[in-house]
Amino acid sequence: MIAAELAERVRAVAPDVVVARGEVTLTVARDDVTATLDRLRAEPDLSFDFLASIAATDWPGRDPRFWVVYELASVEHLHRLRVKVGLPEADPTIPSVVDRFPTANWHEREAYDLFGITFEGHPDLRRILLPDGWEGWPLRKTEELGGVNTRYHGAFIPPVDRRTS
């Protein structure tokens, strides 16, 4: 199915659909995310039953600051769809979809670990890549790269963004 046709069918589920570079993106409010994913899976023409990935992005100074991005695919129809949900800086929480897509478990833990986004209803929301006692959310844009303390004459190598232009 070509992107424009797919976009038209997705628009029947939720209105905010954009086609860019041949990829279809649907933006929904966070309260609607689980219901939307259910409908996208249930519609026989769409049947988005495969969750490939969940990513997060951080845009400080904008509202919404955080975005959670679901990459969906259909095993039967072989088409893809991106579902985006914006989250405010003050309250970066979103319903978990682990009960619908078991694969979301680690993806959501990763987004929690790196961006500090809370997935409500997740069975085991712990850090996954970083040690349990780690402080901060390293992939937020406000987190700095650390730099390197060396043992040579007590020198400190600044992080790369403070070394070059």
């Binding site: 990935s53 990459e71 680690w106 996954i128 890549l129 970083l130 790269l145």
Partner: protein
Amino acid sequence: MSPDRVDDLLTAGDEAGFDAPSTREVRQETMVINMGPQHPSTHGVLRLLLELDGETVVSCAPVIGYLHTGIEKNTEYRTWQQGVTYVTRADYLSPFFNELGYCLAVEKLLGVEAPPRAQVLRVLFCEMNRIASHLVWLATSGMELGAISVMLYGFREREQILDIFEAATGLRMNHAYIRIGGVVMDLPEGGLERIGDFLDTMPGRIDEYERLLSKNPIWLQRNVDVGRLSAGDALAYGVTGPTLRAAGVPRDVRRDEPYSGYETYAFDVVTREGADCYARYEIRIEEMRQSLGIVEQCIERLREPGPVMIEDPKLGWPARLEVGPDGIGNSPAYVRHIMEESMEALIHHFKMVTEGVSVPAGEVYVPVESPRGELGMFVVADGSHRPYRVKIRDPSFVNLQAVPTMVEGGLVADTIAVISSIDPVMGGVDR
């Protein structure tokens, strides 16, 4: 103790209304052991928390993160071209796939395409890489299950492939060969013949592995019906690649959403119905043969010369490389041009090195079929000369989630077979 005495003891409590509990009810205790992160069979630094009842695995919880190197964060502080050298280090056994996924994503954002010859070279190196990766899987799996000789043979043939990689890219791993807009440089002199020699010997070698393993009673006992994962469970856990195809689902990005001209190559998507470790073994063996077939078709297409990097000087980088006495570097003619002849060329060179290209704002998700499954690159640009966000959807990361389903209820020794059958690479899992 006489048998009569045993009978007496066994029935002694009955009159008093005392039921002797069965062994299973008495043994409430289980033991939790750490397998890894330093364990030779965990393919790197994977840690499994195993709860054992004797030899039986009651529960299993994978713990990851020991190889986290912040690749995604680091790319945000480098130019778009430098990003290639970071992502290639994620799944270090399939570096070409990481490079390809990233470059395809950036090219999609830019709205450009690599020249045809570069696309053929990309397919060629990816398929050679698939064979090399499957050989490492064969070698290590064989070793873990006691087939030591397979380990020697697997690494022997992989060495041949790595020699070809080294001759073409300068490195055995982490090549940064595929770049935005094409590839770094064309094949070296005699490269096609060298790959041709490999194609001549390899099919016989694959037959040899099959003669060693396919009907080997120990190999069959360790693999058949071990670590079953049904198609439904696999899809629910997001499992892709050979592990999914072993459950009979013909999902392969090369066929479903062709990139780099895969739709013009003849190859089969191999599936099996067994859904166990043995089916995954059969799939990888057959995939090596299919990859050889694709490489052969690539060689035919590479007979005619052509450009390997996009013509646009604002995008094509590195400009002109040559092999000199101390390795690959800018060609002497190019250095003379920027240092002695053209001030504009020098300025352009300086801008490309320090700032690189600017990519128009937007976001794309580009999947490629790596040896382990769907490798997705979600790349976000904000219009500047650095990536805003690079998220690597690594297949090993996702596939590992299905391990508890496959090992729980089985024997602890089968855990080894299961882990090796999904072929995780921790560099990709932890990124």
